[in-house]
């Protein structure tokens, strides 16, 4: 689980090849973090504008961290552990015409408005065919897995041929998706057979690993942040109660990736797929990071707090001596700040939300660089290594240039309020609506509800119980419940 950052000497290293260059990386990290440590943050370029992109969500969702690994295309680099002799290649220079054409396309993309392919080059038909034959290959046509690696590229097929894997988890009374505080609470209340899933290896939710890591650091200052200490205590207590329930089967490192009408769930653990059925689904999958909409919001080096926790605790991202900028407010803001500081990073804080007086006082006491009354206006990438954030005064209209504030850092953490996870209930038939006060897609019925949890009956008779952060932001701050 939580592993301390490795000192440079005396620890095992593995040699990997990245685009033909040999790199000696610290063992025990993910591929994305190993490359980050080597100063390689730009893992790909966006395919229209050619903007540099890197790891953002660290949980296998975002698009720009895909690499070709050992001859296999589209490997999620943030989920892939290193091994000796790994051959890694970027995969966005693969247009039919080669890398120079890719660069030219990126430069020219600004003159191609949205939807141009529906309007241009369509008439007359004979010319249209001439253009299409030349335009189509420009986007790249992809490359199949290398033949020699086919067995490794297609592990499921290889295994299926040898011995049929046990991929049917069976029928459960309840499937709880997410083993955070709400998921644990729901699982403890279940009487029948229960399957508890979480994409972390250990139960406790997205913040527990970070809180444990913080508590294990020498200069954690946990005593100065009572909300963090209390959150850790509550989560540890909830996790400690789990073994007492024999009817609950916990499956770590696994996530529900599809819901099939009326009562089926597809579960992925690594490259392994499993199916399970339920009578009640408890949807406690928590929230996803929101970076927000501002110019440069895709700059590599920008993370949400949940991604940061994963990178620091799961992959042991090295931040000692690095400069980190933390923007936002709330529990995740202070947890990110305390954890980065405890791991040796120089931190600058920009509090953009109100409240948290006692935490602000603690930060001032600790002599952390702290700014308030600012609004994030823009982020610029500055080469491979730095991000530069531009702030303007809050409330007032953007004033003259002098009133802007520029802060530069190795990485920036944007602590928005997060948006509730929503996809599996939608696929199972739940009626969702975007409620802005909740921060994302939640059941439409929630608009009329003021109580905590929410229960829905699906068209097929199965039930979904919403719990915790999947309900969005609650009126009172119950995030750490």
């Amino acid at each position: 689980m939580a592993q301390n950052p490795a000192p440079a000497a005396g620890l095992p290293t593995v040699a990997i090849t990245f685009d033909g260059e040999t790199l000696n990386c610290r063992a025990g990290t993910s591929l994305a973090v190993a490359l980050w440590d080597q100063g390689i943050r730009h893992l790909s370029h966006s395919h229209k504008f050619g903007r540099p992109r890197g790891v953002t969500c660290a949980r296998g969702h975002c698009t720009n961290f895909l690499l070709r690994v050992d001859g296999v295309p589209n490997v999620r680099s943030c989920e892939t552990p290193l091994h000796d002799g790994m051959v890694v290649a970027t995969q966005d220079t693969g247009t039919f015409y080669g890398a120079p054409m890719q660069k030219m396309l990126a430069l020219g993309s600004a003159w191609f408005p949205v939807g141009f392919y529906y309007k241009w080059f369509t008439r007359p038909a004979t010319l249209s065919r001439f253009f299409l034959d030349r335009i189509r290959p420009m986007t790249g046509v992809g490359r199949l897995p290398d033949a020699a690696r086919a067995a490794r590229a297609l592990p499921a097929a290889a295994e299926a041929a040898a011995t049929p894997p046990q991929t049917d988890l069976g029928q459960f009374e309840t499937i709880v998706v997410g083993a955070g505080p709400s998921g644990l609470r729901a699982a403890a209340e279940c009487a029948g057979t229960t399957l508890l899933l979480d994409d972390h290896v250990a139960a406790g939710g997205q913040r527990l690993a970070a809180l444990r890591e913080l508590a294990s650091c020498r200069d954690s200052h946990l005593g100065r942040f009572p909300t963090l200490a209390a959150a850790l205590e509550r989560l540890e207590a909830a996790v400690a109660r789990l073994p007492a329930h024999d009817n609950v089967r916990f499956l770590g490192g696994a996530r529900a990736i599809a819901g099939y009408h009326p009562d089926g769930v597809l579960v992925r653990r690594g490259s392994e797929l499993m199916v399970a059925r339920f009578k009640t689904l408890v949807w406690a999958a928590g929230a996803l990071d929101t970076i927000g909409l501002f110019p440069g919001n895709d700059t590599p080096g920008l993370f949400g707090p949940r991604a940061l926790y994963r990178l620091l605790t799961r992959d042991g991202l090295e931040v000692d001596g690095k400069h980190a900028l933390i923007v936002g407010g709330g529990l995740d803001f202070w947890l990110s700040a305390a954890l980065l500081a405890a791991r040796g990073a120089a931190i600058s804080l920009v509090v953009t939300e109100g409240g948290c007086q006692s935490e602000v006082a603690a930060a001032v006491d600790l002599k952390w660089a702290l700014n308030t009354g600012l609004k994030l206006d823009e982020v610029r990438g500055n080469g491979q290594h730095m991000v530069q954030a531009v702030f303007v005064p809050r409330r007032n209209a953007p004033g003259p240039l002098g009133s802007h504030m520029h802060l530069e850092a190795d990485l920036a953490v944007i602590c928005g309020r997060g948006k509730p996870a929503y996809d599996i209930p939608y696929q199972l038939g739940a009626d969702l609506a975007l409620l802005p006060e909740r921060g994302g897609f939640v059941p439409r019925a929630l608009a009329a509800s003021t109580t905590g949890d929410l229960e829905l009956t699906l068209p097929g008779g199965a039930r979904i119980l919403y719990a915790g952060e999947t309900l969005g932001h609650l009126p009172t701050d119950q995030v750490s419940r």
Partner: protein, 104 residues
């Protein structure tokens, strides 16, 4: 603020300006905006952009975001390989044995 540098959908490189322009061209439903711009059709399947797009659409329409019809979010929520699906050993479901209809 330069909305051409605000990326709404990272997977398909759709900027906020693209989205607004598509709306101005008459694509006023989320479904047609998705088809026209490619928004939400990439690797993340809309996890990064769908709620932001609905909020922006509500601003453009000057309407309640709760009233905006969502696009269909089909399973699976993450890309899989055919090999992974082929390796699945799915038992017959008693309630499903007689229905062959597609829910899309």
């Amino acid at each position: 603020m330069n909305d051409n540098r605000i990326i709404l959908c990272r997977c398909e490189d759709v900027t906020l300006r693209d989205f607004r322009q598509a709306y101005a061209e008459g694509f006023t439903e989320l479904e047609s905006l998705k088809r026209y711009t490619g928004l939400g059709t990439g690797f993340c399947q809309g996890k990064g952009c769908l709620s932001e797009a609905v909020l922006e659409l509500a601003v453009l329409r000057d309407a309640d975001p709760a009233g905006i019809r969502l696009t269909n979010i089909r399973p699976p929520a993450e890309p899989l390989t055919f090999a992974q699906l082929a390796g699945l050993d799915i038992p017959e479901h008693p309630a499903q044995a007689d229905t062959g209809e597609d829910q899309s």
